[in-house]
């Protein structure tokens, strides 16, 4: 079966030329064949998927199908899914089966999207290479020596290898956009508060946001129509009228003002990535856009600020893993403290421990003002930079990551090197803005290059429009990894 767009798959189902069961069987066969190499999925459950597909087919027979009913999707293993394991790629939750569904999962189920399984990720979404997973690293479909990016690396690899037509991801500091860039797909991080965090295993609650990952911007727009929306169970979910995220897709780009922050094109950006981004900018100019040079002066501070705030929130959120109510408990202990300490020592991996310890330290007595409060103040300066920028431009354009996908193992033992690979994505989370990554070419090593577009608050439909117009004029998003077949 041809691996086509979500719109194409929806047409196929609507016309009756394929059933959801057939479609799912096809993807499951491909997963069975390719996942042993890629390790993109942690959990696959053929029977469960086919039962969900049969239910979608039944809805269609009854004339109750929605726009995407029957189109399968893969879910990052950070979303709680009733009946499926939700491991968060941690030993701590290796045997956890959630008693309820995340809001995003409820929405997908209500729309009739069968789940193809749960995708691999960095443990508790802490990582940029998918190498911190308890279930082993994911391979980049474009080059098995390369990382797929992280933390939504399994979702990105699954979509790139066409093991799934689309997937969900989450983005706390770049975890949708950077793997989308490394795997040559499209990924959108919505405005903070647009997609409910209910049932999303918490990492850094003031930054976490779920979003779609798929080959094209149009696919992502269709998925946003499914997953976005108010949910009273998330205290930061925003009460806004429902939006059709596809409504601006066909708008021309004539007169679009594209902001180019000089900090995003400075030292540290690889020459081959810079070339691909500049070529894409020329394409946007052919489409009628014009560029505006501007500055985001506090950009360089985003990484240090993030490594105060995200670990601080993580140390608090991950305090719940105590071996009492759910998750792993150490087999041998003499007293309660020993039970906690051994459970957490054995249940968490190295990166998660590092972040919990940093977070515990910056929140501890005597250091709170110097670290946490100062970080929150600089966070506001970073958000103000963007507010000033959006008085001069409609969207901000730059690279998603400073390089193409790096080699497996290259940064595994150097946390700081790993952290700096998110230099262009982190500020967006701190400000709470929407941003997406689209494929725009290949580096000298033949690995994909991702282009980042950042919008003002609630400008998702505009970002998707800009990306869609680019994708109508180019074919990078249709390229598939050659070796997989």
């Amino acid at each position: 079966m041809e691996h086509t767009s979500l719109r194409g798959l929806a047409e196929l189902l609507k016309s009756g030329r394929a059933s959801s069961r057939e479609l799912c069987q096809d993807y499951l066969d491909r997963i069975e064949r390719l996942n042993p190499t890629l390790n993109a999925f942690i959990t696959v459950d053929r029977d469960r998927t086919l039962a969900e597909a049969a239910a979608a087919d039944h809805l269609r027979e009854q004339g109750r199908a929605g726009p995407l009913t029957g189109v399968p999707i893969a879910h990052k293993d950070i979303f709680c899914t009733e009946g499926w394991p939700t491991t968060c790629a941690s030993r701590m939750l290796a045997n956890f089966v959630s008693p309820y569904d995340a809001h995003v999962i409820e929405r997908c189920k209500a729309a009739g999207l069968p789940s193809l399984g749960k995708t691999n990720m960095d443990e508790f979404a802490m990582g940029s290479s998918n190498e911190t997973s308890y279930f082993g690293p994911v391979k980049n479909p474009w080059d098995p020596r390369a990382v797929p990016g992280g933390s939504s690396g399994g979702s990105a690899a699954a979509v790139a290898a066409r093991l799934a037509p689309a997937a969900t991801g989450t983005d706390t500091g770049g975890s949708i956009r950077q793997p989308a860039a490394f795997c040559g797909i499209t990924g959108l991080k919505p405005t903070y508060g647009v997609v409910s965090r209910y049932g999303l295993v918490a990492f850094a609650s003031s930054l976490d946001q779920g979003g779609p990952m798929a080959p094209s911007a149009e696919d992502c727009a269709l998925l946003m129509n499914v997953i976005a929306g108010f949910d009273p169970r998330d205290s930061t979910s925003l009460e806004r009228p429902a939006e059709d995220y596809t409504r601006l897709l066909d708008a021309p780009l004539q007169g679009l003002r594209i902001g180019l922050p000089r900090e995003y094109f400075a030292q540290g950006l690889a020459a081959d990535v810079a070339r691909a981004i500049e070529a894409a900018l020329a394409e946007f100019e052919r489409l009628g856009a014009r560029s505006v040079e501007l500055s985001l002066p506090n950009s360089a501070l985003s990484v240090p600020v993030y490594y105060v705030l995200a670990p601080a929130e993580a140390s608090s959120n991950l305090a719940r893993y105590d071996g009492v109510r759910y998750g792993y408990r150490t087999p041998e202990y003499a007293d309660l403290t020993e039970m906690y300490e051994k459970t957490r020592a054995e249940g968490f991996g190295a990166e998660v421990k590092r972040r919990i310890l940093i977070g515990t330290y910056v929140l501890s007595h005597g250091y709170y003002d110097a670290y946490y409060l100062q970080a929150q103040r600089v966070r506001r300066l970073i958000a103000r930079d963007f507010a000033a920028a959006f008085t001069q431009c409609d969207v901000i354009l730059g690279p998603t990551a400073p390089t193409t996908a790096f080699d497996l193992g290259a940064k595994r033992d150097d946390p700081i090197e790993m952290y700096l690979s998110d230099i262009y994505t982190i500020a967006v989370n701190l400000a709470g803005l929407p941003a997406l990554s689209i494929p725009c070419g290949f580096g000298a090593d033949g690995r994909p290059v991702g282009l980042q577009l950042i919008g003002d608050y609630f400008a998702e439909a505009r970002l998707l429009n800009v990306a869609h117009q680019y994708q109508r004029a180019t074919d990078w998003h249709t390229r598939q990894p050659p070796a997989l077949g």
Binding site: G193, L301, P304, D322, R354, I356, Y371, G432
Partner: protein
């Protein structure tokens, strides 16, 4: 500011994570690297800048004072490591 080995062990105790000596030594170096990275933001003049806790100005919503949750104790306890008669079991803490 640089963390000593004893401070690393103290933080680990606060976080209830047991560290063996090798791990503590390795973490001491890594945590100090991270703290050096963090120091870059400490020199910034932020006098008069309000701390930003959230991207949106959100306020806690109030809901109607009605019962919305049903009793799901047995479902929630089905995923617990150790329960007995509806109670979570932990080592004795009160003699």
């Amino acid at each position: 500011m640089s963390l000593s080995l004893a401070e690393v062990q103290h933080i680990a105790h606060l976080a209830r994570i047991r560290l063996d000596q090798d791990e503590a030594v390795r973490l001491q170096a890594q945590l100090n690297d991270i703290l050096r990275l963090i120091e870059q933001m400490q020199a910034v003049d932020t006098a008069g800048v309000e701390p930003m806790a959230h991207a949106q100005e959100v306020y806690q919503r109030l809901r109607a004072d009605v019962v919305t949750e049903t009793d799901q104790r047995s479902r929630f306890q089905a995923v617990a490591p150790l329960v007995e008669q509806g109670l979570y079991l932990v080592p004795r803490v009160v003699e």
